[in-house]
């Protein structure tokens, strides 16, 4: 660390965030002051809620990689296990539970919509 003078000396900036300050502040204050994304490449690990807001920055190359919430963490563990077996990652049950939750929510949405359509066809309230 002694030979570092500013952020542009870093090979990669990895930001783990769940809000503010987060990737926006790194892009504005760090990349903005030290020569842009090519000088300070940024990767972000974040809760899923923030990721849609990051996609324009990813598309513009200001962020070079995103770990998208629990799913992204699971994908990362899988990739590490595949490419670096010497660093085995325990793939926890969290992602399975999340997948079940996804299916459950989709099921509820479908049931809700079917219920709404049935009640509408019977002349009930549509809203």
């Amino acid at each position: 660390m002694q030979e570092l003078e500013d952020a542009s000396d870093l090979g990669l900036w990895a930001e783990w965030t769940s809000g503010t300050p987060g990737e926006q502040q790194v892009i504005q204050f760090v990349q903005g002051r030290h020569g842009g994304p090519s000088a300070v490449p940024l990767v972000v690990g974040s809760t899923a809620v923030s990721v849609p807001g990051m996609m324009p920055f990813y598309a513009a190359g200001q962020i070079v990689g995103i770990l998208n919430g629990l799913a992204g963490a699971g994908e990362f563990e899988w990739l590490v296990n595949r490419d670096y077996p010497e660093y085995p990652q325990e793939q926890g049950p969290g992602l399975d539970a999340q997948s079940v939750a996804h299916v459950l929510i989709i099921l509820f949405v479908v049931i809700g919509n079917v219920g709404w359509a049935v009640s509408k066809s019977r002349g009930g309230k549509s809203s």
Binding site: Q24, I27, Q28, F29, Q31, G32, R33, G36, T47, A48, V49, S50, V51, P52, G53, P56, F57, A59, A60, G61, Q62, G69, L70, A71, G92, P93, G94, A97, Q98, A101, H102, I105
Partner: protein, 249 residues
């Protein structure tokens, strides 16, 4: 200075931490059933702890900055006298006579922040976004490589940008071609908000999964598992909620 192990319980208190964690988790989630004295108590506990934690970190940061600045002064680097004096001027907030001096550091900090924010925002949120949109390839791989149809994602992005921007164009009435464009733009905006909302739901779901993992994976010396206490905590909640209902008549 805050000791480095602040917030960490010593190992002999693991059992206490597990028991407390189970009760607090069940009490706060009991809000989903109905608001009750236990959920309120834990809510207040959380707010109080967060406030004290923030205060501690702020104090620590301020103290370490003060020590760092005075060390530079001791080395003969007198330029640091300026920020130290400016920092001390914050204390004029507590006097009526010299309150105007308090405004100097505030205005300097606000000015510096505004300057940095404006430059950063224009560069990162405005110019870079426009540049990346202009540079979108219409032929070949677009932004996300690997799509089945080359360039399709670029076309969708361009249509989305133009139509979504037209939605906020209020100079003319949204009729005819502009009406069609704003309607398409509205769908793009709804899809964006939907994606953000879906992300919010799944983030909350992952937090809930984290708490469930705490229940089922926390143990103490092979005889205690955290989930043993979940029914006990639930019974507590029911008793207190019924007691409150009876007290209110």
């Amino acid at each position: 200075m805050i000791p480095p192990n602040v917030g960490q319980l010593p190992p002999e208190l693991d059992l206490f931490a597990a028991i407390f964690g189970v009760f607090v988790t069940v009490f706060i989630y009991s809000f989903l059933w109905k608001e009750n004295p236990l959920s309120r108590a834990v809510e207040h506990l959380f707010v109080g702890l967060a406030a004290v934690f923030t205060l501690g970190f702020m104090y620590d940061a301020a103290l370490s900055q003060a020590v760092w600045g005075t060390n530079r002064l001791a080395e003969g680097n007198f330029i640091w006298l300026i920020p130290i004096l400016l920092s001390l001027m914050y204390f004029f907030f507590f006097t009526k006579k010299y309150f105007f001096l308090y405004r100097y550091p505030v205005s300097i900090v606000a000015g510096i922040m505004a300057g940095m924010m404006i430059c950063g925002m224009i560069q990162s949120n405005f110019l870079a976004q426009i540049q990346s949109t202009v540079e979108l390839p219409l032929v070949g791989n677009g932004v996300w490589e690997g799509w089945p149809m080359p360039g399709l994602d670029s076309i969708i992005i361009i249509i989305g940008i133009i139509t979504a921007l037209s939605f906020f164009f209020f100079t003319w009435e949204h009729k005819g071609a502009l009406g069609v464009s704003t309607k398409i733009g509205r769908y793009f905006l709804m899809a964006t908000f939907g994606a953000a909302y879906g992300g919010t739901v799944m983030a909350r779901m992952s937090l809930f999964i984290g708490r469930l993992r705490f229940f089922f994976e926390t143990s103490y010396e092979d005889w205690f598992w955290a989930w043993y206490l979940v029914p006990v905590a639930v019974i507590f909640v029911i008793i207190v909620a019924l007691w409150e209902r009876r007290a209110k008549g």
